[in-house]
């Protein structure tokens, strides 16, 4: 799941290089409300998991998102 997720996230956020688990995603240059919406919608569509905003607020790294999906699948 992880490699696939990283590739899909890279495309979703229109990053030039592949995102890494340790990346602090809020520090991405193009992180904005649309990127947030895209990520939340993508996780909902792909994994059937809606991440509540307050839970999302606690996440800092890409790994945090992966862990949340794993723990809630």
């Amino acid at each position: 799941m992880e490699t696939n997720f990283l590739e899909q996230l890279t495309e979703l956020l229109e990053m030039e290089t592949t995102v890494k688990p340790a990346d602090k995603f809020r520090e991405y240059e193009n992180w904005d409300s649309l990127a947030y919406l895209s990520l939340i919608s993508f996780v909902d569509e792909e994994y059937g998991i809606v991440i509540p905003r307050d839970e999302f607020g606690k996440m800092n790294t890409v790994q945090d998102i992966i862990d949340y999906i794993k723990n809630n699948s």
Binding site: L12, L34, L37, S38, S41, F42, E45, V50, I51, R53
Partner: protein
């Protein structure tokens, strides 16, 4: 005094009657005097709707996939053989989502248009065959949304389908006026239903408060939309066709 909003003696077909606005519309129409024919996907939930209706024995229930047009056609024929001509159709079945452009696949677009637009148009075509031809005529309602009129980030696909219903209803109103069939849309703002409660914006307090703040009169109840349906189905609306009734707590007033 005669009540112009009464649905006494009318038979109304309601889709999406297993939950939310469709369910409440079915219940409210029965309380306004109508016999209702309920269509929905889930037999158990349809029976729950029926249980909330006065004199359940009067009404009919069909668990059906509205995209299965042959089955829907047969079902409608069967219903009419039992209850006679139909006076109203409320197309309340529909789905919603929040998706940015980059996640709008052709398959997703197709699924939304088939579910929200095609099924309602095909059912309307079948309904017309069985619509009452008396002086009061018949009334068709499409449940649209304020998202068919204004925008919100991530609502493109939902807006496309809901706007299509508003646009289509106007031409249909002209086409069917000679048959004395009125065609209108209702555009609700956010109504508290299972569908809106599962939306992304309902998952946390901050997002929900933002949505609430966009509705000066607060979020809607299914009854608010059901009452608008009763008006458009009743003889009180005999001169109303081709219009879009906005029921949104002030969402689009700004």
């Amino acid at each position: 005094m005669e009540n112009p909003f009464s649905l006494d003696g009318k038979t109304i077909l309601v889709t999406g009657a297993s939950s939310g606005i469709g369910r409440q519309t079915a219940i409210s129409c029965s309380r306004a005097g109508a016999r209702v024919v309920l269509l929905g996907r889930d037999e158990t939930r349809l029976q729950q709707t029926l249980a909330a209706i006065n004199s359940p024995d009067l009404h009919l229930v069909y668990a059906v996939d509205l995209l299965d047009y042959d089955v829907v056609g047969k079902m409608l024929k069967e219903a009419v053989s039992q209850v006679g001509s139909l006076h109203g159709l409320v197309n309340a079945a529909g789905i919603s989502t929040t998706l940015p452009l980059k996640l709008l696949s052709p398959e997703k677009m197709d699924h939304f248009f088939r579910t929200n637009v095609h099924s309602a148009i095909q059912l309307t075509k079948l309904f017309i065959k069985h619509a009452a031809q008396n002086n009061d005529g018949a009334s068709v309602i499409f449940l649209s949304s304020v998202m068919g009129m204004v925008g919100e980030m991530g609502k493109t696909i939902y807006s496309l389908t809901k706007g299509a219903l508003i646009a289509g209803a106007r031409s249909l109103a002209l086409e069917l006026a000679t048959r004395n069939v009125r065609v209108n849309t209702i555009s609700p703002g956010v109504v508290v239903t299972p569908m809106s409660q599962s939306a992304v914006y309902s998952q946390d307090e901050e997002s929900l408060n933002r949505v609430k703040s966009l509705h000066p009169l607060g979020l809607g109840k299914p009854e608010d939309v059901a009452n608008a349906c009763i008006f458009l189905l009743s003889d009180a609306a005999r001169w109303v066709t081709g219009t879009n009734l906005v029921v949104d707590g002030g969402y689009t007033a700004r």
